[in-house]
Amino acid sequence: MSSAPAETKSSLYGLMAEFDSAESLLAAAHSARKAGYTKMDGYSPFAIEELDEALGFKKSWLPLFVLLGGLTGVAVGYGLQYWISVIDYPVLVGGKPYHSWPAFIPVTYELMILFASFAAVISMFALNGLPMPYHPVFNVDRFSMASNDRFFLCIEASDPKFELERTKSFLEQCHPTHISEVEP
């Protein structure tokens, strides 16, 4: 830090405020949004229901991917059985028709659930950009408490309203227990 006396926006990832309760983090998120900040994220040891709204996040597309996954599963499951039993190698079993659709339902159903579940998990990780072994927020030593009992709000330097001193004094008004600069 001492080697870069004139700090500019780009030399930092952002400013991080630490809180000791979920309520303070929520309040800080609300006032940051009111103050016009848009590029920020909260970090908490458990899911806080109202926090994503407070930070202005939009609804996720994830359920749509799960629906598409389920429909793919139905198509694959039914298509597989139809192609095998009717087209590729028809075998007459117990006088049942080649296209015995009621008997094809269980496997179709299972594959629907299988594909939809994979869609849910994969799209959750993909949309979140995980796995991501490195992220600037981990440069803050105290951030390891984000998985314990501390709550963090990080206003990112890429925010158009971000100005080191002004943002710092704004965060100080939110009664954090700590404020740290986040190295990129």
Partner: protein, 477 residues
């Protein structure tokens, strides 16, 4: 609440008060530390080593039995005509049923927003995974030559050009069980990710940091991530719920689609599902009670959990009792065919009559003790009753598989079933495998969800205040 009021409230509640869901002194930090220290502190209780030693003997037994079976063939087992489905299928159904409570606790109770699921769902899900693995071994071993069975189990382009027969419940079973295993694994892993991050941040050794760090995938608790995480988790719960119902229904169709008296009945799917949940809750008790006392987790798995689980067990036990009663009624009175009538009277008074009445005793009569609150709040009694149900549910599958097969339509083809030492060695082997995996699980991963316990504490602090029950809890605390 003033201190003067407190004793009065307590007095009024007396025995009727609802015990709290978590210990009164817990904080976010103490939850994190207590649950992760079980793994990270490096202190391993002697009882863990003793249990592991016993469990590993079981693994040895399983390994030897499997090798001998693959070298010689299924002839080493007691299966023969007319009883072609012996211990292997009994154990398969028993194990897969045990898995069902894990999914019920983690998925169904999550959708129903039952907060008491939180401290038991993680290890119940682990139990599901290992139980399904144990179950899956049996059909594979039962084929005798699993490597030759692949072409009729899995739809892959074999050189013979033939495919599985999709009109058979046995192939539905392959898909149902494998889907169940995979989805349970996904659900369990997604639930673990935030806790793996907590373990990463608290691990002191380099190996621990790297291992948990890789598994945590760089989870940082971002609000945006939590939003998607919650949606994905809820959807997985929603997908697992119909899945768990379908799995044991399909297992029951292995029997019900055939024409054997005692198997050919429409009550099987719901009755199997209820029995599965029943057996699974019994296994949660069998595992949870020692876990709770060895690791001093009474603040997390409280008497409230015990009480609620005992009630679920009692209710599902009554479904099962209804199933038995309805089976007896349809066979003896309603069906009006001599084969059905003979099957049931043979089941009750034939050479295997002892198994039927022991089943009624262990699975129906003894669990009725759960009607008494004092029994539901006694850890020792719950443990004994859960063992009784474990035995009872195994006998149920014995009655269905062996007793139905041993005397079918023609007296000339009747026979008796004599399991061999290898049947027992394989079964005991899977018990050892199950126990080994569970012991390794509690050593390597947090057995109770840390993130969800924190959320429960948060909710208790906030929303609880509007809730009358919470007032009672605070007063009691």
């Amino acid at each position: 609440m003033s201190s003067a009021v407190q004793p009065v409230v307590q007095q009024q509640l007396g025995e009727n008060q609802v015990p709290p869901l978590m210990g009164p002194s817990l904080t976010y930090r103490s939850i994190t530390e207590k649950l992760s220290d079980v793994v990270l502190s490096g202190h391993i209780p002697t009882s863990w080593f003793v249990a592991l030693a016993i469990a590993l003997m079981g693994v040895g037994s399983l390994t030897i039995s499997a090798v001998v079976l693959l070298m010689i063939g299924t002839g080493i087992w007691g299966i023969t005509i007319p009883i072609g489905w012996g211990f292997a299928i009994i154990n398969f159904v028993w194990w897969i049923g045990i898995g069902h409570a894990g999914t019920l606790i983690s998925a169904v109770l999550h959708i129903l927003n039952q907060q008491w699921r939180t401290s038991i769902n993680r290890f119940a899900e682990a139990m599901t995974l290992v139980a399904v693995l144990c179950a899956g071994m049996f059909p594979l071993l039962h084929t005798g030559r699993p490597w030759l069975a692949a072409y009729w189990l899995f739809p892959y382009p074999s050189t013979m050009g033939v495919w599985p027969q999709f009109r058979s419940p046995l192939i539905w079973d392959v898909f149902a069980v494998l889907t169940y295993l995979t989805v349970s694994l996904l659900f369990w892993y997604v639930g673990l990710v935030p806790d793996l991050a907590a373990m990463r941040d608290r691990a002191k050794t380099k190996i621990g940091q790297i291992a948990y760090g890789m598994l945590a995938m760089g989870w940082r608790g971002s609000a945006l991530h939590w939003q998607r995480y919650d949606i994905a988790y809820l959807l997985l719960a929603g997908l697992s719920t119909p899945l768990v119902v379908s799995v044991h229904s399909i297992v029951s169709l292995d029997f019900a689609v055939s024409v054997i008296p005692g198997w050919h009945t429409t009550i099987f799917p719901p009755y199997f599902v209820a029995g599965a949940v029943y057996a699974g809750f019994a296994m949660v008790f069998t595992l949870g009670i020692p876990l709770r006392s060895v690791y001093k987790l009474e603040d997390f798995i409280t008497m409230r959990h015990m009480d609620n689980m005992a009630k679920v067990m009692l209710a599902t036990g009554l479904f099962v009792a209804y199933g038995y009663a309805m089976e007896a009624f349809t066979s003896l009175v309603y069906a009006g065919t001599s084969n059905e009538y003979f099957m049931m009277s043979n089941r009750m008074f034939g050479p295997y009559g002892w198994s039927y009445w022991t089943l009624v005793l262990t699975n129906i009569l003894i669990p009725q003790l759960l009607w008494f609150r004092r029994v539901r709040r006694s850890v020792g009694m719950l443990f004994l009753i859960s063992m009784s149900i474990n035995v009872g549910m195994w006998l149920e599958r014995f009655v269905i598989v062996v007793v139905s097969l041993h005397r079918d339509f023609m007296p000339s083809s009747w026979g008796m079933y004599y399991p061999t030492v290898w049947d027992f060695a394989t079964f005991i082997g899977t018990l050892g495998f199950f126990l080994t995996m569970m012991l390794l699980f509690v050593r390597a991963l947090p057995a109770i969800s840390i993130a969800e316990m924190r959320l429960l504490l948060f909710e208790k602090k906030h929303h609880g205040k509007h809730h009358e029950k919470a007032h009672v809890e605070e007063a009691a605390a």
